[in-house]
Subunit: 348 residues, 4 copies
């Protein structure tokens, strides 16, 4: 009952985190780490944290061949590549979990508008299931092809969905002020990601234009049963990991702490990876760092009839690799927390 898996794009931050988690997974037998730029090099020469642990060479990124030899194929590539390289025959051969944005939105036109590129994979788009485990567990279990959500989106949607589902907030009033650590930018040699450019500063970016916006809006619209738009501002914080989403919304007339607590409990009362902090306790990214947890808490701003609700995740775990493994667990019938039992360490 063990599976063989492949990771395409294993030498990125999300890919390598995925490899690290899978190496300890009790039901994973063999792992192939494929890379575009490091083929033939020892994986641990790029990620010496894995010295002695995973010293195999990087394979080439030939998706069809990897699919043929894998039970589960993870794609951790820049957006746009999977739309052309992923085909129906690949999906037929093995379970595919795509960490890119390419198949997250149902509407390819929306993708093309926000990503400013053609969507070459319209033929298979319908088969993709949006892999936000807590919202779509049943569909994921039956899926062959899972679009793993983005980091900002996972955090924002999990934080807001119960309030929309229970009609406790005015859906036209949602503002998401999100903050992320720098690993979200990936292992790319960009000026903006240099230590001295990120350290000792904070900035907003992608305000109103961030590509995670349509993903958030599509999911929240499904939850609310009507079209929703949100104001979204991303911020870069001088830390390695972590996302904090501070969400603001006007309260519905009947909304109070009791109703809000009930809504969260209804949605997440049995969730392994969501920790509800309740009224008056707010999450911090340090308490989830290194784990698959999403911590959620809120404060009632009664003077303004608003709620301020915050969610915190580790962007590389629940926001990427951890959720990908959670999706694998669901789709393969493993216990949902297999390989994901890591407890947040502090200080870390």
């Amino acid at each position: 009952m063990k599976v063989d898996v492949s990771i395409v794009g294993a030498t990125g931050y999300a890919g390598s985190e995925l490899l690290r988690i899978l190496v300890s997974h009790p039901y994973v037998r063999h792992i192939t780490a494929a890379s575009h730029s490091h083929v033939g090099k020892q994986f641990s020469s790029q990620y010496p944290n894995l010295r002695y642990i995973y010293d195999e060479q990087c394979a080439a990124s030939r998706i069809p061949e990897l699919a043929a030899s894998s039970d589960v194929l993870f794609l951790s590539l820049p957006h746009g590549i999977a739309t052309t390289e992923l085909t129906a025959s690949v999906i037929d051969r093995c379970k595919v979990i795509d960490l890119s944005a390419d198949f997250r939105m149902k509407d390819a036109d929306v993708y093309e508008k926000w990503y400013k590129t053609d969507h070459g994979g319209r033929a298979i788009l319908e088969q993709a299931v949006y892999g936000l485990c807590e919202l779509h567990r049943c569909e994921i279990a039956r899926a062959a092809f899972i679009a793993n959500p983005g980091c900002y989106t996972t955090c924002s949607i999990l934080t807001l969905a119960p309030l929309l589902q229970a009609h406790l907030i005015d859906e036209r009033s949602i503002i998401i002020d999100a903050k992320s650590g720098v690993s979200g930018a990936g292992r790319n040699e960009k000026l903006d990601s240099l230590f001295c450019e990120c350290n000792e500063t904070i900035k907003a970016y992608g305000v109103g234009t961030h590509r995670h916006i349509p993903e958030i809006e599509e999911q929240l619209s499904m939850v609310a049963g009507k079209n929703i738009t949100v104001s979204f501002a991303a911020h870069l914080v001088p830390m390695n990991r972590g996302i904090l989403a501070t969400c603001y919304a006007n309260l519905a007339p009947h909304a109070d702490a009791k109703a809000i607590d009930a809504a969260f409990k209804d949605s997440y009362g049995n969730e392994r990876f969501i920790r509800l902090l309740g009224n008056g306790v707010l999450p911090e990214t340090r308490w989830v760092k290194g784990s698959n947890f999403c911590d959620i808490g809120y404060v009632l701003d009664t003077r303004n009839s608003r709620i301020v609700v915050c969610g915190a995740i580790d962007n590389l775990v629940k926001g990427a690799a951890g959720q990908a493994v959670q999706n694998m667990n669901i789709v393969c019938g493993f216990a949902e927390d297999c390989g994901l039992e890591a407890i947040p360490a502090f200080p870390m």
Copy 2:
């Protein structure tokens, strides 16, 4: 035409920054650094950055005596002390610039409610002028007693005031998501300020309850000509200095980029310390670090008919010591940027 100055509370972060600026001020003759806990010790033993530069001993914090021998008296104390120690006779003797919150709000009841302490200084409260230089320059010039604004408040008010003055936003819709470096917490031995507790994490705090809220609301209400309440969430960012205020508001029907630019130019077109970045360019705290600048820029979130307007300051300079010196310059008739010419350094 030179002045003698005293700083009470000189060994805090704001007090020592004030001392550092004043040491280079062309019109300051003698500086007395008074401290509660370090009397008789060399100031530079606490702040070795000032070795060779200011090696005098710390004086005792006797406000009446310091007032008698000073032209300008700066108070950089925890809130509550000045309400009892500051008297009419002190204000008669010298110009007083109080960096605490004690005399910032016109209404002592509001102070007592938010600070949960008695206001012992009601007798002199009326004489206090709110020292936000760009808004109250004329009153400051005639004042004997100046209440220097808070760090979050300076940044938030400067960022939003022109929009309210020009009626370009719905004043009931204001949300301020503010982020601060750790120096804002002062040089106090608190668990929450330890390196390992602040580093590699971000959290919200004081949501709806932060003591800078009534100060922001009072000033914005004066600007708008009607009572305003705002939603305010402070966040702690793992960096030494800097405040970024990300402000959200619904646009008035007639508000567009042209009107917004005009409003900012009307308010700040001639301001030495405000840099307007305009539409589509957002400030970052690194670009103002170490300076008295406030950088302001905005983005129109047209999909939601909102504006996202951001301000950035150095919390210890424009948010505390720098503005205190700016106030001294105004009240003493010096050029407003005397001693405040420092250019932000980068990377810093």
Copy 3:
């Protein structure tokens, strides 16, 4: 075959890290977390990373009673307490693993000189086995009472021991320039540990006087078979975790890369937690963060006939809690890496 354990001083950084590791340990049944200052409070209120995972209340720090109900008793207290509170009867009742410095040195006079305090535990000092697993595994297996080594010492001794054992360096020429993250200072409300005092700076401290010096010297002297003194300088680095020991020594005439590699392989060739990087590859703390690994590599400075050999550990894991669990595993007969399988994550 499962054990019940107690941790005295569980709310410190080392104690809480120990708890975190033990919570996932397959052979640990029940854990009692005892604390001096938080008795009766939920442990996870102090360490919310453990919310939902370990929500028990903190017990009182009554060592005799805890000993009576425990198979293994961990002490994670400031130095000096265990010398008086730890008695022969406690050691008779259960295995004791002391993370303090109190019983690390064989000579109580040396302890008293460096720690400037009386050693109240001379009666039981002889029973203590120095718990540096890789050097004293056999004695540890038979011990009832283990003195867990310090963080700087673990890293320094592991890095240098093979070279001394094989007589490849001049033992009078050893210089250890060690660097540590801030968590080494513990969760104490000290001015020097504040974020703004540690961030964006580096300093040397404890040069020639650090209390880990006699511990390093005693162990290295045992290895070398003669009395050794070393020059040691500690440095504080603005990061949460990690120790890097950069060690310099004059090479013995016959020492070359081949002999050095052989010496390291002889000493550590079969060690689970030591990764040898060899000639020309130097360790970095990021690659061991969160794990029990010690990475060691070296460079030959042939122009000066010296070796520069570096070791890197996570100060809270191999330098404290991880090694304590490794000691428990040895003394209890568990596989040595039980509960210690965590792979370093990156970026973390």
Copy 4:
């Protein structure tokens, strides 16, 4: 009596810091900022800290033309370029201060060996004066062409020179364990300089091979009057700025604190930019950050008859741009601290 200056390579970290200092310099009239990659772009678009302050466009890097129109020409280029582009006619036209390594060593063969490239500028090498102001002030005053020292070298040489000059240490025993902030790596899009690769870790690099070694050795040999080699290990510290050099040496038989203090006082007693902390007080980089100071202190490791002497500078100021301006001041006959009066700010 004012000068016109040009900076070639103004958009690097050192170049922009130089520009920032020169903008406030009382005797600098016009500044031309030349850049290879940003010609025609507004300088402040690359360095928004200089918005409103220096908004001129970047000029082309044509050295002969810039020399013709400048009194002082600063070169802040990667090593190797100046060896070919700098000619005798350029040096004839204006004072040249080269921040690269190209003309720092008297022996072009040594340069070629360590930098692994041809030295194309042998014809003018003899004219270059090594611009370590405190050691070569008189020659600098008469020079037309100054080779501005490296950051590690400035710190190391200033820290050790007085001890060698006074014959207080064994010159064969010198070990320099140096630590630097990340800005030393420049504004280059390199994987190793990414935030997530540098943050929360420390590593040694360039051990025994760092290119600053021959520069240190040449200068120290001149001071000592005999050939000296040193062991040198550089370390990368997760901070923006600062260099700390921890230097170890065996004491000469007659060396004691009195002799050491005298040696430092003899060398630096009248130096504006060197602060002597004396016996038992060690420098920290935070206390010099943003200034041209070099702080030096030491500890006697009497158990080992060694001295541990530490120096701290800001790598971009005294280690680059500040010293370049100091050199300009000397060569132009300005007061040596013109434009360099900045006091270190803290916390910064």
